[in-house]
Symmetry: C2
Subunit: 193 residues, 2 copies
């Protein structure tokens, strides 16, 4: 079995710790300790904590991209059902940690977008990618007649995703899935028809 | 003119610094320096940084409560116009700092609700109060016939406010009012009718 490099151990520890505690509350000392790597290791592999944060965000992004490929971007099945599946897949992930951690995109946006321009730019890129994936699925819904022909897919994708982040943030604060269930209810009853 | 106490100076500095940089990124040293008070002053007045955070959040809450009293809870005028006014008043405040800082409620929720139970409880209390104020205004809209009689005011208030936090978070990341304008558009076109 291939050995996991110290760099990789740090990134994996970073994904967990930063998701749970936030970027600011996670120190380099915490990371090194959780990864079980030598003290000086961090600076050998990362130019700064900020650049480490950007890489961790990229890892999380790759996971979420896989979720989108299996749902929003999968051309089989009802497009509106694919949106429902996307929400459900992500919700199952949130439930694994008792809804406590929320979405790392939203957490970084709230905590770090004023402090780090590199993190903010990564987030803008992520949000644009997510918006495009959601709009792609909404356009498919228009094509199969699940949404009306004049439906504004791009604008609705943007609204839907920011509203979704708000629902996740409420769910995280309450440690309860109710805000996400409510979001789904309003989304399908009032927006996507 | 009455002298401002050191305690008050620290709280005022805390409101500005924590709103701009976040709770974690604001150190006690930053607070003491910005407030221009002696070094030991912080621990004389506050049991911990966490309890200071709860007080700062309470200050911010009092400001937002005044906004709600002038709009959502003011019994004069069209209730739906009062909701519009509430959003507009808050948006003007966000614009003052170039949309960079967002809403302190959302920022604390994302950053501190996993780390501090005291802050999380304060946020739950704030969100419940805001939900009640919004539901009050929606009920008034039902009474004057701006919304249908079977409108679910309490559920819609909860959805609306979490969606609103998501819009603010997007606006903060983008440093652009567009997500808030979009939220308003969907709110009045698809939810409140």
């Amino acid at each position: 079995m291939a050995q996991i490099s110290n760099r990789e151990k740090l990134l994996q520890a970073g994904l967990d710790l930063i998701h749970e505690h936030g970027f600011g509350a996670t120190s380099v000392r915490d990371l090194v300790r959780a990864a079980g790597v030598p003290q000086g290791c961090f600076t050998n592999h990362f130019a700064s904590k900020e650049s480490f944060g950007v890489e961790v965000l990229g890892r999380y992004r790759a996971e979420k991209r896989a979720d989108a490929h299996q749902t929003l971007l999968d051309d089989n099945g009802s497009p509106l059902q694919r949106i429902r599946a996307y929400i459900d897949v992500r919700t199952e992930r949130f439930k694994r940690n008792g809804m406590r951690c929320g979405c790392m995109f939203g957490n970084f946006a709230a905590e770090s977008s004023t402090e780090s321009e590199a993190i903010r730019q990564e987030l803008l890129d992520i949000f644009a990618e997510n918006r495009a994936a959601m709009a792609y699925c909404l356009e498919a819904a228009v094509r199969v007649g699940e949404l009306p022909e004049d439906f504004d897919c791009d604008e609705t994708a943007a609204f839907l995703l920011s509203s979704w982040q708000g629902a996740i943030l409420s769910a995280k604060t309450q440690r309860d899935v109710a805000p996400i269930e409510r979001f789904k209810k309003y989304l399908f009853a009032s927006i996507l028809h």
